[in-house]
Symmetry: C2
Subunit: 203 residues, 2 copies
Amino acid sequence: MSISSQTMRRLPVYLDYLKQLPRDTARISATAIASALELGDVQVRKDLASVSGAGKPRTGYDTAGLIQTLEDCLGCGEKRQAVIVGAGKLGRALLDYQGFETYGLSIEAAFDQSPDAVGVTDAGKRILPMAALEAFVQTHPIRIGILTVPADQAQQVCSRMCDCGIRAIWSFAPRRLHVPEGVLVQYENMAASLAVLSSHLAG
Amino acid sequence: MSISSQTMRRLPVYLDYLKQLPRDTARISATAIASALELGDVQVRKDLASVSGAGKPRTGYDTAGLIQTLEDCLGCGEKRQAVIVGAGKLGRALLDYQGFETYGLSIEAAFDQSPDAVGVTDAGKRILPMAALEAFVQTHPIRIGILTVPADQAQQVCSRMCDCGIRAIWSFAPRRLHVPEGVLVQYENMAASLAVLSSHLAG
DNA sequence: TAGATTGTTAATCGATTAACAATC
DNA sequence: TAGATTGTTAATCGATTAACAATC
């Protein structure tokens, strides 16, 4: 039974909520989670059922157990290695951001075509020249590529990533990408969010 | 007739695509747009119909006219002013990013509780102390607040934003926010995208 | 036992897709 | 005219919500 992508997107929201609860919260009900997160209680129960199945009538879920289950499901325990291509402001911000480690993502290095960008960041992460991309990816267990290059270079860099074996691409570039069968592209479309905000202000 | 939020999110995607076409592309069909963006042609036609209605059978849409219509609809012409609270790496990256100007968003200043953060960025944008937030928002036409503080400060900062008249909040903090009636919160949930990527690699 | 909660089955809702008439 | 394309109406699909039996 595969988990729908809508459910998958809510799992880290539940996990964040559970982790910020007081330490002594031994049990928690779907009803309580739903009310805190402003979601439907049936939706929460259904989402949790799709990964856990350990809820008990009357008492709810064991908090620690549920956190463990969600972490397992999101792969927080594993270390999934990624590289970033495009060491502009956004690329460097993501590179130095610690928060993704919580979810098992470790960004190993960034690459940039500009010789000026090459070096080491404040957090001690390496920025390497573009020419080093293929060798680096092939000598490390890199499976995720993060794209923070300008739109007009996105397809070209994406193709290079796919060619050296990257299986999942997280793209911040506003451009639809063409990838081989089996490679997943996840678009982080900031302009889309902005459009929704704007239409609220206008309407 | 109000535009659905799914459609609204696709409008900037269409706009980006149209703007990168060769200058001499006088007309374009929904079929062509759909095939380039890997969407359904009926979906594109329906989205465009909801804002334009200027498509002509056999010839398609006037490219320049469609760009203009989309820009109007997304408010690219207006200047919507925003502030950022939280001048960490992500906050500063967004502050200095030029790309949002294209969509009519102008980030006027950032605010941070740490005295060390206060100053001026590379791009010449001001970072001010938190105490200056209310006065700044009330003396400028700020309607959008961008939240890039840690999760545990998000609600408190969000409330201050709402209190001084901000009507739309774009939050990068992994925390559900409670806002008064009429204020829109748009969550940019990076962990959710990461979860989808991870499940692809695992599954 | 009574009551709160889970998990499942059925109904609803919204968005996408298919079918087709209208038009240039 | 013939053919490509638009825009609309109906059908489908997926996700959310409501109703309810099961359980501790």
